[in-house]
């Protein structure tokens, strides 16, 4: 989270809406530990990362949807091993669970 604060500040100063995705759980092997964070602004600009690059694209789409819906946030999972998980698998074969929320707190 620390590494994305500068970008978030800049976006907020420009009046942009911002969503933050954080890894909350990894099952099996995963590229980043819980706490890895990525921020997305309403224009689709990105700071930070939550995986080795496997799921970032899908996270941007979800983050933009959450901002558009004015959702309080939700859990999103990616991986091969979970039926509910999105199909954009992780190359490592694990499952990554993210919480994506608007920065409105």
């Amino acid at each position: 989270m620390r590494e994305i604060l500068d970008d978030i500040d800049r976006w907020r100063a420009n009046g942009k809406k911002v969503a933050v995705a954080r890894v909350v759980k990894i099952e099996g092997s995963g590229p980043r530990d819980p706490g890895a964070a990525m921020a997305v602004n309403e224009d689709g600009e990105v700071a930070g990362s939550v995986s080795g690059g496997c799921v970032e694209g899908a996270v941007v789409s979800e983050a933009l949807a959450i901002l558009a819906e004015q959702s309080p946030g939700r859990m999103v999972s990616f991986g091969y091993s979970d039926d509910e998980a999105f199909a954009v698998g992780l190359t490592c074969g694990g499952t990554i669970r993210l919480f994506i929320e608007p920065l409105a707190w």
Binding site: R2, D9, V24, G73, F99, W105
Partner: protein
Amino acid sequence: MLLYERFRDLVRTETPVALATVIDGPNVGAKLMVVREGTTETVEGSLGNPDLDRVAARDVAGELEAGRTGVRHYGPEGQATPEDLVDTPTVSVFIETFAPPPQMWIFGAVDFTAALGRVAKVLGYRVTVCDAREIFATKRRFPMADEVIVSWPAPMFERRGHTLGPRDAVCILTHDPKFDVPAIQGALATTVGYIGVMGSRKTHNKRLERLAEVGVSGARDLERIMSPIGLDLGGRTPEETAVAICAEIIARRTGHGATSLKNTSGSIHS
């Protein structure tokens, strides 16, 4: 000021803080934060229910203490035991800690060191093993250690003593006067929360004489030195000794008397 702005400033100044977020259940997105500034701990924000806040704040403070990040599940009013959670909608809370893990420095590359290192890892410590003897102080003998350093105590404390604080522990297992006296002196010069030194009562008494010779004799210093090391659990193996040491570290931190709960009354978690 928004909670986020307060959080951001704390993270920037490297103030230890743990942030709890409801990720599933009622009040998704609600936040509670435990902040440690010096010796004071404050709770800010709310997860949406006062009972849940009270229970979660305790756990969040514990995670902050241990430097851990993870998910916990509660009932909507903070119920935390499995029996209470049956047939109850649960609240999932992601607790993220922004603090370096506590450190444990273990002096002496002996059998007890390996066992203590393993138990310390379970408790979330960053473990450093230090010994001046190159053939014993190897990563192969202590694979659980985050680092193994070949050094005498004095230079180790000169270089890195300032990184030790109240959450950290120094355990001196050498039994060797050449090593344990300077290690004790080095540890006393820091604000480290726990200093334990291994040895029998006889060794301990002799060590006190040697410490007095180098000028360590003040009541305040002697009070900080836990020796013989560990709680009196009656254990014998290195692993049992490691548990006795770690239990003593926890008891010193919490100020609890380390007796069986069966024999005490009052709040368990205060």
